[in-house]
Each structure stands twice: as C-alpha cells, then as structure tokens.
C-alpha cells in the first residue's frame, strides 16, 4: 500500500471521530478511479495494481465505517493487534477477576433471567467501547486495548445468548 494506513488511503484524519461524509465521498471517488474496468487493455502489472488498490479501498472502507473495527484498527496502528495472542504485541490478558465474572455470567444465564443479563451486558459492552474511544482520544493505546478486549468478551457473551435463543428446544 502506498498510503501508510486506511486513514491515509481514504483521505480522512487519523482519529476515531471521523468525517463520515468525507469517508463516503473519497471511497466512491477513489474506487472509481482504480476500478479494474478502467484498466482493460493495459499491461498485467498495472491491472493487478488497480485490483489491489480496489481491494484495499474496500477493506479500508469496511474497517473505518464500523465504530468498533475503527477503534480496534487505531489500537493496531498503535502497536497492539487484538487479533493476536502474542504476549507482547497481541491482545492484553484480562484480570483473573474479570474472567471469573465471565464464568459467573454464564452461570447466571443458565439459571434463566436472560433478558436482564443481556441488557446489563449490552450496556457494559457499550461502556467498554466508549471508554476505549476516550482512551484513544487521550492517546492511551494500552488502556484502549484493555477496554476493547473487555468489549470483545462481552460481545462474545452476547453472541452466545443469541445462539442459545435461536436454538430450537
């Protein structure tokens, strides 16, 4: 990629609060400019480069327009990859107390009371995202990473709740 990151690629400022209008506009303009159809008849290297750029633009747009993915991407640019388990550069491990709470939550779920638990965890997932964004705004990447990891645990839990409700009994 010639541009350093998705923000540069799509011509928007590198921060969580972004100009949605500019993102949409630049995405459409730049996608059209590098659409493979415009390169038919040119040498294969040029065609391939256009295709790669298109695919980068699509990936960048998908990442930046999503509030969670955008936050996680900023953390990644800050040096912490939440998709990795590497102890140094990967997602930070949550505290033992937090993990115990995650187990207890499942037990509360098994006892019934699905609606109340879901509501509580949805709220906490949102709080974790907000706290992560606030930390990013302050430039505290490690803190943002911790909050976003907590959000993933909450999200994972909510996905399980959804799956259990869809399952025919």
């Amino acid at each position: 990629m010639t541009d350093a990151d998705y923000f540069g690629l799509l011509g928007v400022e590198r921060r969580w609060r972004l100009d949605r209008g500019a993102l949409e506009r630049n995405y459409l303009e730049r996608s059209q400019a590098s659409h493979p159809d415009g390169f038919i008849g040119q040498d294969s290297g040029t065609q391939r480069a256009a295709m790669e750029r298109s695919s980068q633009l699509n990936q960048g747009y998908r990442t930046l327009r999503d509030p969670v993915l955008r936050a996680e991407y900023l953390v990644k640019l800050g040096g912490t990859d939440l998709d990795s388990s590497d102890p140094r550069t990967g997602a930070p491990k949550p505290s033992q107390a937090f993990l115990i709470e995650m187990i207890d939550l499942r037990e509360r779920l098994a006892e019934g009371d699905v609606a109340a638990v879901r509501e509580e965890i949805e709220a906490r997932a949102e709080q974790a995202l907000d706290a992560g964004i606030a930390a990013l705004d302050r430039g505290e990447v490690a803190e943002a990473a911790r909050e976003l990891v907590a959000r993933r645990y909450f999200q994972r839990f909510l996905d399980e709740v959804d799956a259990s409700e869809e399952r025919p009994t």
């Binding site: 990795s84 033992q96 993990l99 115990i100 995650m102 499942r106 990891v149 993933r152 994972r156 839990f157």
Partner: protein
C-alpha cells in the same frame, strides 16, 4: 472449517463438564481466557496424595477450545500433579489434529491446567514451580 473427528467427538460428548467446590482444600481452580476471541475456560482438579483424582471443566468458546479442555481433563485423571504440569499444548494439538489457526485453543488448555495446579499448590503453601 473442517474439524477433525476427535474434536467433533469431544465437542458433542464433552467429558467431565461441571464444577468442583473451589473452596475445597483439595481442589485447584484455573481460569484462563483468550483475549483475541473472548473464549473463557475454567478447569478444576481434585488432588489426593499428589495425584489428580478428578477433573472438571467449563469452557465457553469454540469447538476446539471445548475439545482441548475436555481432552486434558481426561488425560490428567490418575496423573501426578508433577506429570500434569508437563503437559504441552503441542501434545493436545497433535492428539486433536488442530489446524494452525486453532493452536491457541490448545495453549489455553495448557495454561488452564497449569493455573489449576498452581492454585492447588498455593492453597497448600507449596511454592509454585516455574
């Protein structure tokens, strides 16, 4: 993704699902998580005269994570805690034919059994090895 038959077997018929009393002096509890995906694993052992006599687990995660913890509880029953401490994630991954993207599930299971043993040792004032 294609799971191996052993993973599917453990996933569909997990061994030793459940809990032991974490306040029991003879019980060690290990709780570990995989931050990248949000999996949580609780593994407990009951130890008598240095030998693991019972093991239970609860894993909230993918099929490979469930299979890895199920397999470990099966393995450690009847094993001395010293021997159980030597279990390597590579042995788990090999037994279950885990693909590279699922290796971290076996790492989680290794971490869980080690954490359970350390918890037991701490209860008994044995300095945690390592």
């Amino acid at each position: 993704m294609a799971y191996s038959t052993k993973v599917i077997d453990h996933y569909e018929h997990p061994r030793n699902v459940g809990s032991l009393d974490k306040n029991d002096e003879d019980v060690g509890t290990g709780i570990v998580g995989a931050p990248a995906c949000g999996d949580v694993m609780k593994l407990q052992i009951k130890v008598e005269n240095g030998v693991i006599t019972d093991a239970k687990f609860k894993t909230y995660g993918c099929g490979s994570a469930i299979a890895s913890s199920s397999l470990v509880t099966e393995w450690v029953k009847g094993m001395s805690i010293d021997k159980a401490m030597e279990i390597k994630n590579s042995q788990i991954a090999e037994e279950l034919s885990l693909p590279p993207v699922k290796i971290h599930c076996s790492v989680l299971a290794e971490d869980a059994i080690k954490a359970a043993i350390r918890d037991y040792q701490q209860k008994h004032g044995t300095p945690a090895a390592e």
